[in-house]
Assembly symmetry: D3
Homo-oligomer: 253 residues x 6
Amino acid sequence: MKNHLVESWNEGRSTLNGWIAIPSSATAEVMARAGWDSLTIDMQHGLADYQAALGVLTAISTTPTVPLARVPWLDEGIVMRMLDAGCLGIICPMVNSVDEAARFASACRYAPRGSRSYGPVRAATVYGADYWKQANDQVVSLAMIETAEALDQLDAILGVEELSGVYIGPSDLALSLGVAPRFDPDEPKVVEAITHIIKTATAAGKRVGMHTMTPEYAKRMADLGADLVTVGSDLRMLKATAEATVEQWRGLQ
Amino acid sequence: MKNHLVESWNEGRSTLNGWIAIPSSATAEVMARAGWDSLTIDMQHGLADYQAALGVLTAISTTPTVPLARVPWLDEGIVMRMLDAGCLGIICPMVNSVDEAARFASACRYAPRGSRSYGPVRAATVYGADYWKQANDQVVSLAMIETAEALDQLDAILGVEELSGVYIGPSDLALSLGVAPRFDPDEPKVVEAITHIIKTATAAGKRVGMHTMTPEYAKRMADLGADLVTVGSDLRMLKATAEATVEQWRGLQ
Amino acid sequence: MKNHLVESWNEGRSTLNGWIAIPSSATAEVMARAGWDSLTIDMQHGLADYQAALGVLTAISTTPTVPLARVPWLDEGIVMRMLDAGCLGIICPMVNSVDEAARFASACRYAPRGSRSYGPVRAATVYGADYWKQANDQVVSLAMIETAEALDQLDAILGVEELSGVYIGPSDLALSLGVAPRFDPDEPKVVEAITHIIKTATAAGKRVGMHTMTPEYAKRMADLGADLVTVGSDLRMLKATAEATVEQWRGLQ
Amino acid sequence: MKNHLVESWNEGRSTLNGWIAIPSSATAEVMARAGWDSLTIDMQHGLADYQAALGVLTAISTTPTVPLARVPWLDEGIVMRMLDAGCLGIICPMVNSVDEAARFASACRYAPRGSRSYGPVRAATVYGADYWKQANDQVVSLAMIETAEALDQLDAILGVEELSGVYIGPSDLALSLGVAPRFDPDEPKVVEAITHIIKTATAAGKRVGMHTMTPEYAKRMADLGADLVTVGSDLRMLKATAEATVEQWRGLQ
Amino acid sequence: MKNHLVESWNEGRSTLNGWIAIPSSATAEVMARAGWDSLTIDMQHGLADYQAALGVLTAISTTPTVPLARVPWLDEGIVMRMLDAGCLGIICPMVNSVDEAARFASACRYAPRGSRSYGPVRAATVYGADYWKQANDQVVSLAMIETAEALDQLDAILGVEELSGVYIGPSDLALSLGVAPRFDPDEPKVVEAITHIIKTATAAGKRVGMHTMTPEYAKRMADLGADLVTVGSDLRMLKATAEATVEQWRGLQ
Amino acid sequence: MKNHLVESWNEGRSTLNGWIAIPSSATAEVMARAGWDSLTIDMQHGLADYQAALGVLTAISTTPTVPLARVPWLDEGIVMRMLDAGCLGIICPMVNSVDEAARFASACRYAPRGSRSYGPVRAATVYGADYWKQANDQVVSLAMIETAEALDQLDAILGVEELSGVYIGPSDLALSLGVAPRFDPDEPKVVEAITHIIKTATAAGKRVGMHTMTPEYAKRMADLGADLVTVGSDLRMLKATAEATVEQWRGLQ
């Protein structure tokens, strides 16, 4: 078993991450074949819960795309279930303290490096019987830094040894800084915070993921040092394209 | 109860139809809010069967969009079930003879105009208790003309009184004429056949629907006389946009 | 394996049948515990297809209630699937000729009495390995008589040896006779037709089922000779009670 | 976006709430059309989890009925997911302290008034792109007061500024007071506690919801000052009506 | 796109087919990784319908196993849907005449070799955009010979040019010959019929599939000339192993 | 209502528990009929979440098998939901302290013995209206002892009065003790720990459950004093049997 993301990052290449909000293995299979390096099932603001996510993971496994999940909240139960289901990385929202970061990181590691419970039901089927021996090195844990509080605690959070890195949520970060939430922000206060997180995390030897809406902004973030960049989501792409199609037709009348 | 499509057609306006291949009420709700005049659940080449289609119909009912279905095959059971479920029109594939056209049309009409069985379980909930009195006038039946055989029988098929009109499937039509199947065809043989169907059906006082991939081609068809034009499908839009996004990112590296 | 309906009918007792339109095993379990002699999953005008019906059948099997299904149309595939899934009887809509009746009856019987294909996947699990030996005697097939055409062919239809009996659909029968479709009809033309079917079928040694909306009307039908009477449906009961509750509250303001 | 409940309460009118325990969009659509002011998906003692609830919410959105949810437990993850899914209010069980009330209230408000994470995936689709600007004023948070402990802390709980109000669970309240749990209780100890909560909350400028089984009892509660009254549940209505129907039939034999 | 079954058969190797009766992508993924050459979703006597089968197909596509389906009945709609969904072969039950065989074979071929409708929604995603060009040569159609009537018509059925071959259903064949249905039959009358079908089909240049319960019997059939042999089914394996485990425990008490 | 497990244990008989990882009511029905004393739905390392578990519970209720669940984590919400859904016992993973044990035990008992919230939606349907009166005595709570930390706290944990007993997870226990995780362990360090738990718990008057893979090992554990022994799981049985079948076929070539 190899997590291709880790490999790419080790070679200095930023990876492209797709975002799955649609709770359907049918659309997931189409997404998986589009060529993303990884796909993240968003179980916080997306529309799939565990059972639907399981079907999505099977769909992703029809390709070499790396499966990740953003869990709804810092909850050991769902973190471990998504790992057992075959995710090679977890993004955890709203990690605001070193204690939360440590709890999250621990849930992603088997003893003695953490407290993950043994029983990799789908992971062992997909990655082989020795999955458990390699999981601690291959599974990625990314804590979301998206509040002023988390910004304050950044150094401490980055000091959690078993935490792989951080993931930047620009909307909540903006809201927390008193700026209207939007994607691909240009407000100096927000851009500065994002830049600070990327630089600090990279300096601390941690990985950084960043949420964006366009390949251009993603490139900008990769150039700043982001290891993983997300662009858009399946549901947003569908929505935007459908609306543009209808609008184009109306314009022709 | 009013079928807004019929109203628009009576006023000489072509309507824009969206196409649903994804078996998910979550994506259907996004499609329904994009502004199409109607949405057709494709139960032939799309991915939803009855149970999934039911959820899609509920999603469409959150908006004034008119729900239609393309059934998998000429089968009275599924034609009637989709009408009971609230579809205001049915597109039936591969109608190649006047007998088939008559069987299909009859399945869409209550006695004495047809043989539809009474029991509009969801339709009566959504459209009111007197649904059954208006259904015969509001429900649209469109027979697909998509083979050389059907072209030969076109006049006879158009002579079926209770049939509302025809729907052109350009891919199968092309295949049947010995041309490679593709959308928005420009091959003279296929364009000629399409034009012939639109003109003949219109002259016979029947409605015509046409399957296209772009608003431009749809406009061309509407100008030829098509009453309803379909553009793309949810799954194709998602696929194309996802692939374009990945490609754009790769281009920036 | 015993079909308790057959037993009751043989002892001269009419049985009470519930009607399931809701595609949910959760509501089915509640229905099953309410004490009906049998429950029929309505796959024609109800909202469940095969997969949902399977869950409903499991729910019914938590009690001694006898499971039946009304199939969407005369189609051997679904008739046999519902029997394999454990239904002890099938109601088939719109049987209008002796040929249709014979096809339907044959689909419910193993060779040499019919053409049912062997493979009782759930039925053998639930009723035992020797299910197939008893199925031909325990499974009930009821052909719906609900058109003027079927009325004309009644004697011939009743002559089909392997057909267990008929089931009266008063709404379609009314429509077919030019009367507005409604439940528990009092129009002489419809009542007369119903009475004729019950008397003729009984005289021919066949079983008769009848669709009603109230216990009172059901009793009237049982007194006329109906062996099985259906009262209401789960969805109608929910709808009526919810509406009455809201209305009662509004009245108190 | 407007939460019609808030509007009604501001005008001094008590609202009628329906209760959804059945995990089905099919029954939800019937419930939604029955005329309740709001419908609450019960994810604690009802049978739907997130994925099923999503379908129910879509069904409710076919009407102007206001959607609410009772979450299984005080858990930020599910509170925020249900809001993102379009609920305009959350009922949280077993809130026994001011800390719990504050955590709950905070989860229902965006910064700076709370800690709700941004990403209103379905809410923005349904209520518009500016949903997030209005959500803090339109979303209702009701903490359940259902233990002796909570009664003791009532004043402190009511002092939580961002909490909209309380919801009374009479069964657990009774159990906690040493009385057998039942709906529409008449035991003085329980009635007294209920009255105390309604009066105290109203005096503190908070909203009060109350769980009942009959319109009459609901009226009594509204007269005491309850802003929102729940009557029955879909599953109970189905169960009661089915049992009554069978009993009526048995009585006619 | 290559159908590995065709390749193996051309090289003279019999292939091992697994049988899927469980409507779950979770179990299908486990089955797919067990090493079968192909897996057939049984939509006739198994428990999955179209929507569940779609998830099973995705699960199979995580491996090189070839996906097939047995359809519920000779119905063009479902034959074509399963091909569009990615099945590389269809087994059709109860083919008793040359007309039925021809209808079935035609449904599996695009014009001009047949009447399959164009729209390979999942097949083109999985196998590539030129799927349609290769489908006619790669898709396998196997007609079930399982009645005395079909035995009589065997030569004529084998004469249908576009039919790939036949599949032997020993249980129904036995029933039809007046023998108790069971798997791996030894009754001379049945063995003789099976041998006759294998020899005749092979001589006619057609492929032969055979349903068995044990590897030993399957080997016997392969030695007789069967190209594809099915052994057991997922549900039977689970049932047998569970029963054996319980029995073993009881024996230890 | 009677929990047959409690009855058996009181009579000194160890009970056999089956393990359900497959999220399907179809396979659950087969498991339920295999004769296990109880079946546990594994919601931690298995593949079902609440909604799927609900269908599994209905399937189990077609037999006298006692339904249990292992919840994903110590979370009052899911513990209570599974009890409301009809489970007669809960296994809770990773209970490492007396506080955690007390929280878990309390969630399984109604006041005054605990803090379980009232609303036994399915339990009351299945077990009767007086379920709540008997639940405190019939519902079993088993805390998993599977870490070195829990071993240290064993006496304190066993001192929690309302806790019914403990359940031993040998894989995590091994990992925690620095031994490779596997089933039916023979490493002295692990066997010693298991023996210690069984003896200590039994001496403290608590019940003990143990996870094994074979009837032989289960017997060994029962002889040591285990009240409930689990053998294998549905998914493992399917996987092992499928792999063995393919291997056997390959060996015959």
